[in-house]
Structures are given as structure tokens and as C-alpha cells.
């Protein structure tokens, strides 16, 4: 119920939905990303995911994907930056 209300709110106020991407950078060691639609780049220095009309690029050192499923990804390593372009 709460999520539905929140969804209605952001849709009205911001023109987006909760189904859009979202990510959390946890202490620069882990990035939790939802709403991804596939890998664009994958190497130790950069991991980037396809989003809806955008790309999320995570840069860092010794990066790897800890978990990866149809919408979620968990990238670990020394995170330097997370950029959505």
C-alpha cells in the first residue's frame, strides 16, 4: 500500500515511477543496482549496465559482479564513482 502511494506521488510530482532504476553505493565497496537491463561493459575497472534509455557506469578497482539477475546487480570492489548517463 505504502509503495503504491509512493509510486503515485513520485509519478505525479516527478513524472517518474518506482520501476525506474535506483542504486545504492554502500561504503564505496559495493553498489546495489535495480532496474538494470543488461551489461554494457564489464572489466576490472568499469562495470556498466543498460538502464531504460540510460547507462549506469560504475568505475573502480578490482570490480566484479557479486550477484546478477534479471533486474538486480550487486557490484563489489573499490568503487570510485557511479555515474548515470
Amino acid at each position: 500500500m505504502l509503495l503504491d502511494e509512493l509510486d503515485n506521488y513520485v509519478t505525479k510530482e516527478l513524472g517518474i515511477t518506482l520501476k525506474e532504476y535506483r542504486y545504492i553505493n554502500i561504503g564505496g565497496k559495493m553498489v546495489y543496482l535495480e532496474g538494470q537491463k543488461g551489461i554494457v561493459t564489464l572489466n576490472k575497472e568499469e562495470v556498466s549496465f543498460k538502464l531504460h534509455k540510460k547507462v549506469c557506469s560504475i568505475k573502480g578497482v578490482d570490480l566484479y559482479i557479486k550477484y546478477y539477475d534479471s533486474s538486480t546487480a550487486l557490484v563489489c570492489g573499490n568503487i570510485i564513482s557511479v555515474v548515470v548517463i
Binding site: G38, I39, V40, T41, L42, N43, K44, Y64, I65, K66, Y67, Y68, D69, S70
Partner: protein, 366 residues
């Protein structure tokens, strides 16, 4: 339960591979891009079937982790895991049966009797033993009177029977000593046996001299090998005769000689048989022509024979005839004999001279 496998993939467009896996809604764990062409990641064991077609164009290795490792080992060795208990079961099952029966110590006849008795008691190749080895031993001892001892044992799938035959005493039969010549017994020395003759008895050739037994006071006879030396005065006779007129077959002096070439004992040029005289004898002389081939030159001489009446002067030939009779007597002389006397008599009966020589000898006739 999460059963993971770790894939090491080598190839190009590895990001594309991950996206293809992603499109199959397969969860990946710990995706490491080692370099441009190498990636390693983990997936669920159950998802590997879906991923496998995607890996066709890549080189990949699989590491089974945890339970997946055990599951993989189990599936790989499933045949062995199943076969070992089955084989063990089969071996244990087959040891209950007999697959070979070996009999030692008996001859063919006894062995076949043993086999028949075993068959009657359901102890056969390919069958399970229903009675104990001790019972089989008892049966064999009772049913076969000519065996002294029997032991049965089952070694693996072989049933082994050892038989000891009874040693039956059979008294040996000995032959009596018989006279080798006619004569009068002069003396004897008896080592074993019983004398059948005494000194002064006249015996003929073949008469029993010593019996092959000894008798005790009660008259019970025991067989023994007779050993004795019996000396006797024996007589050896030789004779000869000559008629006043005799017909002999002799050569007339006529002869005929022919030659032929023989190859492998066959006449090369003529197959005719030659008979130049009504009665004849031949002498053949063969000469090898070739040292390599078996070609022989054969020279045959035919001598004519005819019956000729020869007149003999009996008085003139008397000594010769007597010598012949003596020679014949000496030819009949046995070994180790001593000549005691020699007597030659001649008589003319119906124009025929008969001469007989009798040698009186002392010899061992036993």
C-alpha cells in the same frame, strides 16, 4: 538448496554471453572478468542445461562446488556404484553354488561311482548344496565299500573330494618249477617250496618238480615263490639219415642271361616275363648307371634245374651221417650241462642209413 557450479569461459564477446544468460532469467554470481577473453562466474547447477547451448562457441571449464561436486561425482560414477553391489551380490550368491567338482585319489571307475552318488544327493555342478560335507562323507563311506577314507571340502565354488582306496590283500600266485628236459633226478637243493619228486625219479619235460607252497603241521598251505636247483641225468638225442638213392634238384649246366634297364624297380623297355626253362633258378646282378637318377642295369642269369638221382654209398657215408647225428645232438645240448656219456648207433633199413647219437648229460633241469 543452492547448488552452484563455477564456469571458466574463454572466448570473445563475453559481455554478450552474460547478457544472453541474463535474457534466460538465470541468476549469476561472482562474475569476474579476468581479462578481455576470460571470465568466470557461478550459476545454479539446475541452470547449466539452459546455459550449455550458449557455451558451444566458447572454451569452458566447469568446477563443481559443494553439493554439485558430490552430485557430479555421483552421476559420473553411478554405473560403478550400481555395479559394485550387484557384482558383490552375484559373487556372494554364486558362492552358494558348486561350479566344479574335483575328485582326487580314485580311478576312473571309482570316480564315476562317486559322481553318481553325488548326483543322487543333489550335489551337482550348477546346483546349491543342501547337505553338509560331513553328510556327504558318510554317504560315500557307506555306499562305497572299497574306499577306506574320504574327505569333502568346499573351497569357493569348487567341491573337492579326497578318496583313499582300501588296500586289499590278494595272495600272489606262483608258478611251480617244471622240468625243462627228460631225465632222472640225481640230487636237488630246495630253498623254498615243496619238492614234488625225489632222487631217482624219472621226470618228463613239463613235469612239476617243486610245488609253489609250503605246508605247516596242520596241512595249511602258504603260497611261496618256489626256489630250487634240481639236477638230473638227462638224455639228449640227435639223429641223421641217408638213403641209398636220393633225388636232388640240381643245375643241369644250361643257363640264359638277359639284361634290362630298371627305373624305380620297373623295367623300362619290356614288361614280358621270361621263362627260359621249365625249372630254373635265377641270380640277379644290379648295377647303378646314374649316380643321380635311380636307373639300374639289371643282369639276370637263369640256371636250368632238373631232378637228378644220386646214388649214395652207405658204407662210405656212414661216418659222415654219424657225425651229422652227433652234431644234431650237440645242438640240442642245454647250457651248463656236463656230458657223461656219448653213444652213437647206426642201422640200415630198406636202403636207408639211420644214425642216432644219445648224449647222457648231467644238468640242472629246474
Amino acid at each position: 538448496m543452492k547448488i552452484l557450479i563455477r564456469l571458466h569461459v574463454i572466448g570473445y564477446n563475453l559481455d554478450q554471453l552474460i547478457n544472453k544468460i541474463y535474457s534466460l532469467n538465470i541468476v549469476c554470481y561472482n562474475i569476474y572478468k579476468i581479462d578481455k577473453n576470460k571470465i568466470k562466474f557461478s550459476i545454479h547447477y539446475k541452470d547449466f542445461k539452459k546455459v550449455k547451448p550458449l557455451l558451444k562457441s566458447y572454451e569452458y571449464h566447469i568446477n563443481y562446488l559443494g553439493l554439485a561436486n558430490f552430485k557430479n561425482w555421483f552421476l559420473k560414477n553411478l554405473a560403478i556404484i550400481l555395479i559394485i553391489p550387484i557384482a558383490l551380490g552375484a559373487i556372494i550368491f554364486s558362492t552358494k553354488y558348486i561350479w566344479d567338482i574335483k575328485i582326487y585319489g580314485g580311478d576312473n571307475e571309482l570316480n564315476s561311482s562317486v559322481f553318481n552318488i553325488l548326483k543322487e544327493n543333489n550335489v551337482e555342478v550348477g546346483k546349491r548344496i543342501s547337505i553338509t560335507s560331513d553328510d556327504i562323507e558318510d554317504i560315500l563311506i557307506n555306499q562305497l565299500p572299497n574306499i577306506a577314507q574320504v574327505s569333502c571340502i568346499k573351497r569357493g565354488t569348487t567341491f573337492i573330494i579326497n578318496i583313499s582306496k582300501k588296500l586289499v590283500y590278494t595272495p600272489e600266485s606262483f608258478e611251480p618249477i617244471r622240468a625243462r628236459f627228460d631225465g632222472v633226478v640225481t640230487d636237488f637243493s630246495l630253498i623254498s617250496g615243496t619238492m614234488a619228486v625225489s632222487v631217482g625219479d624219472f621226470v618228463k619235460q613239463g613235469d612239476i618238480l617243486v610245488y609253489p607252497f609250503i605246508a605247516d603241521k596242520n596241512g595249511v598251505q602258504t603260497s611261496v615263490n618256489p626256489i630250487a636247483e634240481v639236477n638230473a641225468t638227462a638224455y639228449v638225442v640227435g639223429s641223421s639219415q641217408l638213403a641209398a638213392s636220393t633225388v636232388v634238384l640240381a643245375r643241369t649246366g644250361k643257363q640264359y642271361t638277359t639284361s634290362s634297364i630298371m627305373f624305380l624297380n620297373k623295367n623300362l623297355f619290356s614288361k614280358k616275363s621270361i621263362k627260359p626253362f621249365a625249372l630254373y633258378e635265377t641270380s640277379v646282378y644290379n648295377e647303378n648307371i646314374s649316380s643321380v637318377l635311380p636307373i639300374v642295369k639289371s643282369k639276370i642269369t637263369y640256371y636250368e634245374l632238373d631232378y637228378i638221382v644220386v646214388e649214395n654209398d652207405l658204407a662210405e657215408n656212414r661216418e659222415k651221417v654219424e657225425q651229422e647225428s652227433e652234431m644234431n645232438a650237440y645242438n640240442n645240448l642245454p647250457e651248463n650241462s656236463k656230458i657223461l656219456d656219448k653213444q652213437t648207433t647206426s642201422i640200415i633199413v630198406q636202403d636207408c642209413l639211420y644214425s642216432t647219437t644219445t648224449l647222457t648229460i648231467s644238468t640242472i633241469i629246474s
